[in-house]
C-alpha cells in the first residue's frame, strides 16, 4: 500500500518535471530537477507583459547592434575598395586571358559577334540556365502566393474586382486605347528585333523578352482582361512557358552532352534558338508577374 503510493508520487514527479509545471518539492531525488521549470505557467496578463517586454528589449538593442554592424561593414568595404586595382586600367588582374579569349575567338566559336551574348549563352551557359530557373521559380512562387484560392480571396474581393471591371468597361480610357493601338505593334516589333538581333548588337533573350512582356502588359491594361484572355488563356500561358523552358533545357542539355563527350558538333547555330526560348520564358515571366499582381489570375 505504502509502496504503491510512493510509486504514484514518483510518477507524478517525473510528469511534472517533463511538463515543467512547477518546481518539485524534494530536490534530492533527481539531480536534473534543479533546472528552471521548462513550462512556466504565468497568468495570461503576466505572460503577455513578458512577451511584450521581451520584444521591447529586442527592439531596443536591435538598432544599436545593427548600426554597429553597418558602420563596421562600410568601413571594411571602403578599405577594400580603396586598395582595389585602379579603375579603368588595362593591366588589371581581371583583364586576363579569359576575356581576351572571349573577344578574340568568341565569334568563330559561338557565332555571335556580341561577346556578352556569346559569354552568357555559350561559355557560361549553365549560369544562364540557372537564371532562367530563378525566373521560373519566381513566377511559380508568386502564383503560389497570389493565384486566387480560398485563402487569399473572399466574396468581397471578387465583388470589388467585378465592379472595377464594370467601371473600366464603361469609362473608356480613350487616350490609353488609341496610344496602345499605335504602340503595341511597335513594341512587339521592337521586341522581336532586339530578340533576333542579340547576336550582333546589344540585347538578346533577356532584354527582348522583357520588352515583349511589357507589350503584353500594355495590351492587357488598355483593352482589359477580357480581351487579353482571347489571345492568352491560363492554359496557353503555362503551355508557352513550359514549352520555352523545356526547349531551352533539352537544347542546352544536348549541347552540353555533345560538348563534354567531344562528339561532332550537330548544333551549329543553336544560339538563336536558345535566345528565342529564353525570350519566351522571360516574356511569360514578366507578364505573369503583372497578371498575378493585378488580378490574381492570368
Amino acid at each position: 500500500m505504502n509502496n504503491s503510493s510512493e510509486k504514484q508520487n514518483w510518477r507524478k514527479r517525473i510528469v511534472s518535471w517533463v511538463d515543467g509545471d512547477r518546481e518539485p518539492k524534494d530536490q534530492t531525488l533527481f539531480v536534473m530537477e534543479r533546472r528552471q521549470p521548462r513550462f512556466p505557467r504565468p497568468s495570461e496578463e503576466e505572460r503577455e507583459k513578458r512577451e511584450k517586454s521581451h520584444l521591447k528589449k529586442f527592439f531596443n538593442w536591435y538598432p544599436i547592434a545593427a548600426t554597429i554592424i553597418c558602420v563596421s561593414l562600410i568601413g571594411i568595404l571602403m578599405a577594400a575598395a580603396l586598395s582595389m586595382p585602379t579603375f579603368g586600367q588595362a593591366d588589371n588582374p581581371i583583364n586576363n586571358e579569359v576575356s581576351e579569349h572571349y573577344l578574340e575567338h568568341g565569334e568563330e566559336e559561338t557565332g555571335s559577334a556580341n561577346a556578352v551574348t556569346a559569354m552568357i549563352l555559350s561559355y557560361r551557359g549553365f549560369d544562364t540556365l540557372g537564371e532562367s530557373c530563378v525566373l521560373f521559380l519566381a513566377v511559380v512562387s508568386v502564383m503560389m502566393l497570389l493565384l486566387r484560392d480560398e485563402k487569399n480571396t473572399d466574396e468581397h474581393d471578387l465583388q470589388k474586382m467585378r465592379s472595377e471591371d464594370i467601371i473600366a468597361e464603361e469609362h473608356h480610357d480613350i487616350i490609353l486605347k488609341q496610344a496602345a493601338r499605335f504602340l503595341v505593334p511597335c513594341i512587339f516589333l521592337f521586341a522581336i528585333y532586339v530578340l533576333l538581333n542579340g547576336e550582333t548588337s546589344p540585347g538578346g533573350g533577356f532584354s527582348g523578352g522583357t520588352i515583349l512582356g511589357a507589350g503584353l502588359i500594355l495590351f492587357s491594361s488598355a483593352y482589359g482582361p477580357g480581351n487579353m484572355r482571347m489571345i492568352l488563356t491560363y492554359e496557353t500561358y503555362s503551355a508557352v512557358r513550359t514549352f520555352g523552358l523545356v526547349l531551352y533545357i533539352t537544347l542546352y542539355g544536348a549541347y552540353i552532352f555533345i560538348g563534354a563527350n567531344n562528339l561532332p558538333n550537330y548544333l551549329e547555330g543553336m544560339t538563336l534558338l536558345i535566345d528565342l526560348a529564353v525570350g519566351l520564358v522571360v516574356a511569360c515571366t514578366v507578364y505573369g508577374f503583372y497578371a498575378m499582381f493585378a488580378r490574381g489570375e492570368i
Binding site: 556578352v116 522583357t210 520588352i211 502588359i217 514578366v286 508577374f289 503583372y290 499582381f293 493585378a294
Partner: protein
Amino acid sequence: MIILEYFLLAGIIMCAAAAPLCKRLLSMVIVYMAFSLLMAVLWSLLQSPDLAITEAAVGAGVTSILFFLTLKKIHALKGTRDE
C-alpha cells in the same frame, strides 16, 4: 565627360539616400525609379549597352510596375478608386 560622371554618381547617391527617407511610399517608389534610370545611364557610360537596356527595361520598368501594383493593393495610393 568626367564631369557628367561625377554628377551622375552624386545624383545616384542622393536618390539612394532619399528614397527610403520619403514619408509617402509612392514618392519612395518614384525616387527609386529615378535611381534605376540614372543607373542605366551610368551603365551606358561604362560601355555596357546590354546592361543599360536590361536595367531600363527591368529595373525601371518591370520593378516599378510591380511596386505600383503592390502600393495599390496595400492602399497606399491616394486618389485611386479604393479609397
